[in-house]
């Protein structure tokens, strides 16, 4: 089958744009997992609630950027509250119990959103409305802006982890929790903050993604599943691996949807996952463990 070059190029751009959103969701998930051994099942719900807070703030203030910041902060606080109430009591138990607890949280949050906002999808207006022509398509600038913003946010996170004092605290806690505590790092607060940062990133990606599709209470589910795939394919706990895997999988899905329907294109990412588990269960984009 012949696929014209222009379609191929459009799908490449689409793949990179969704890949960057996915990378934001997945890097929050992998940050939380890598640092505190918590598999956050409620991550998709934080993404969804972030989008809803965005909808509400946008309706109140009319400014998308304020909505983005407000949603990030609000969901970061919510994340901290969730961590303190449901996850902190589980420290020291089997990490699997965190899956159960966060699964309970996701049930509560998802149904809360359904109850509060109803089943009809809400719309977030695009903050940047311009288009440029790409072959026969009018391609919106906003999509490119998403990719740029996502790069900026993830880059900011990376710089923070690499050079910021608190970032160094976080990395120290990852390496050796007891030693970090002995050096005077307030480990319980570091863990709370990490969960809040992950939650905030999920919320920010929810707001950014909102204008592309409607906002509804189910939207988190499919994202958290894809983020799980990305996290496993990228190597659990590795942020750079997750980013690479997010773009890789989104590109593959975008190309696959040239031939099959988008619903079936998801199967491509499943296949990538299975192959990864078969041949390289530690993750595709991390150095071989010694």
């Amino acid at each position: 089958m012949n696929i014209p070059f222009d379609q191929f190029l459009i799908q490449t751009i689409n793949g990179i744009v969704t890949g960057m959103i996915l990378a934001m969701v997945a890097s929050g998930l992998t940050l939380i997992f890598g640092i505190m051994d918590v598999v956050n099942f409620a991550h998709g719900e934080l993404f969804m609630l972030g989008a809803y807070v965005g909808v509400l703030t946008l309706a109140a203030t009319g400014n998308f950027w304020i909505a983005l910041i407000a949603a990030t902060l609000a969901i970061a606080v919510l994340g901290a509250v969730i961590y303190l109430t449901t996850l902190r009591p589980l420290i020291g138990r089997d990490p699997l119990t965190t899956i159960l607890a966060t699964f309970g949280v996701s049930l509560v949050l998802q149904n809360y959103a359904l109850w509060q906002f109803g089943p009809v999808a809400r719309k977030i207006e695009e903050p940047i409305t311009g288009h440029f022509s790409l072959f026969y398509l009018e391609y919106p600038y906003y999509r490119l802006a998403i990719a740029v913003l996502a790069v900026a946010i993830i880059g900011g996170l990376w710089l923070f982890l690499k050079h910021g004092t608190y970032g160094i605290w976080i990395r120290a806690t990852t390496q050796d929790r007891v030693m970090a505590q002995a050096m005077g790092i307030p480990v319980p607060w570091v863990l709370t903050a990490v969960f809040a940062i992950g939650a905030g990133m999920a919320a920010a990606s929810g707001v950014l993604f909102g204008p592309l599709v409607g906002v509804n209470s189910q939207m988190g589910t499919s994202w958290v599943l894809r983020a799980f795939i990305v996290v496993v394919v990228g190597g659990m706990g590795s942020i750079s691996g997750s980013i690479a895997a997010a773009i890789f999988i989104s590109l593959l899905e975008a190309y696959a949807s040239l031939w099959v329907s988008p619903a079936q294109a998801v199967i491509v990412s499943f296949v990538v996952l299975i192959l990864t588990l078969l041949f390289r269960p530690t993750g595709l984009f991390v150095p071989t463990p010694k």
């Binding site: 598999v39 449901t86 009591p89 589980l90 138990r93 990490p95 699997l96 119990t97 899956i99 159960l100 607890a101 699964f103 309970g104 949280v105 049930l107 509560v108 998802q110 149904n111 809360y112 359904l114 109850w115 599943l225 799980f228 795939i229 496993v232 659990m236 329907s261 619903a263 079936q264 998801v266 199967i267 499943f270 996952l273 299975i274 588990l277 078969l278 269960p281």
Partner: protein, 317 residues
């Protein structure tokens, strides 16, 4: 097992089965149906206990086995005329077993959280496949079919009245319980429990841990498929919703609420959860999952051994 304990255990078992058997004669229609459903979900949860409670692997993908059992039964009931019960059982179990073998082959390479996530993603694969292949599965609408007769050739042929169906389900669930209990007491079951306690040491002793795990997943999957067949018989339809991972999550909830590693615990958990759901759905309508989720989180935090956790040793004695 001491003689007295042996006696108490079996009398208790007989009394409970007898009570469940009499129930459809005295209960009104709604509650009879409800009881049958509890037994079916209980069987599904019990099958998953083999993995969670006895082998120490949390499966978040039991909806795939359950759903495949359901669709297998649907294929048999739609494909043969008149619909044949035994063919439905055969097809359902065979398709669940095939899927379980596939899932087990890949997922048992991973441990702990990774196993949980992989099984979850596998169940999503089957969800997407079933959802999108509209021609065979009816896609979103699912499949409708009629109930077969309960017949053994040359012996008898009964119509599946609600009471007969209840007794049929009860018999299968009770037999499955006895069988699974026997399996957990067998040398094979002991190896599974030693994998749960210390996998590295089990391997060092010389057991082929991977093979045991694959068989455990398949065993669990076959019983989950059996629950799927029963559910298809009860409701006369198969829908992709039952393959969705939320069902797997509920199965894990039943296990944790009832008490893992007890086999009966998951059934109790299913009963507890479904009853609460029924009660809450009268006050909160469709938002019953909000209070249920809160209760579940509280049980995970404060009662990690579940409702029957106190009797775990006794039940396994």
């Amino acid at each position: 097992m001491s003689r007295r304990r042996f006696f108490v255990y079996w009398v208790g078992f007989a009394v409970i089965v007898a009570l469940l058997a009499v129930a459809p004669l005295v209960l009104p229609e709604f509650w009879r149906r409800f009881l049958t459903e509890i037994l079916i979900w209980g069987l599904l949860a019990m099958s998953s206990d083999i993995l969670i409670g006895y082998t120490g692997m949390v499966s978040f993908g039991h909806s795939a086995f359950f759903g495949l059992g359901m669709y297998g039964a649907a294929a048999a009931l739609l494909g043969s005329s008149p619909p044949n019960l035994w063919l439905a059982l055969l097809y359902g179990l065979a398709s669940a077993a095939a899927v379980a073998a596939f899932v087990a082959y890949f997922s048992t390479r991973l441990r702990d959280i990774y196993f949980a996530i992989t099984t979850l993603i596998f169940s999503q694969i089957f969800y997407v496949v079933i959802f999108t292949s509209t021609a065979w599965t009816g896609g979103e609408n699912g499949l409708n079919f009629s109930r077969p007769r309960f017949a053994i050739p040359y012996l008898f042929s009964l119509r599946f009245t609600p009471a007969v169906l209840h007794w049929f389900v009860l018999a299968i669930v009770a037999l499955s319980y006895l069988l699974l209990r026997r399996i957990t007491h067998s040398p094979f079951g002991m190896v599974l429990q030693s994998i749960r306690e210390n996998e590295a040491r089990t391997r060092a002793i010389g057991y082929a841990v991977e093979r045991y795990k694959i068989v455990a997943v398949m065993l669990s999957g076959v019983f989950a498929g059996l629950a799927g067949v029963l559910y298809a018989l009860q409701n006369q339809f198969a829908a992709p919703d039952f393959v969705f991972f939320v069902v797997s999550g509920e199965v894990v909830i039943y296990n944790v609420v009832g008490g893992i590693g007890t086999l009966v615990g998951p059934v109790v958990g299913a009963a507890f959860f479904l009853l609460l759901r029924e009660a809450f759905s009268r006050f909160f309508t469709e938002f019953y999952l909000i209070p249920l989720g809160v209760i579940f989180i509280a049980i995970v935090i404060f009662m990690p051994r579940g409702l029957l956790g106190f009797a775990r040793r006794w039940l396994n004695g």
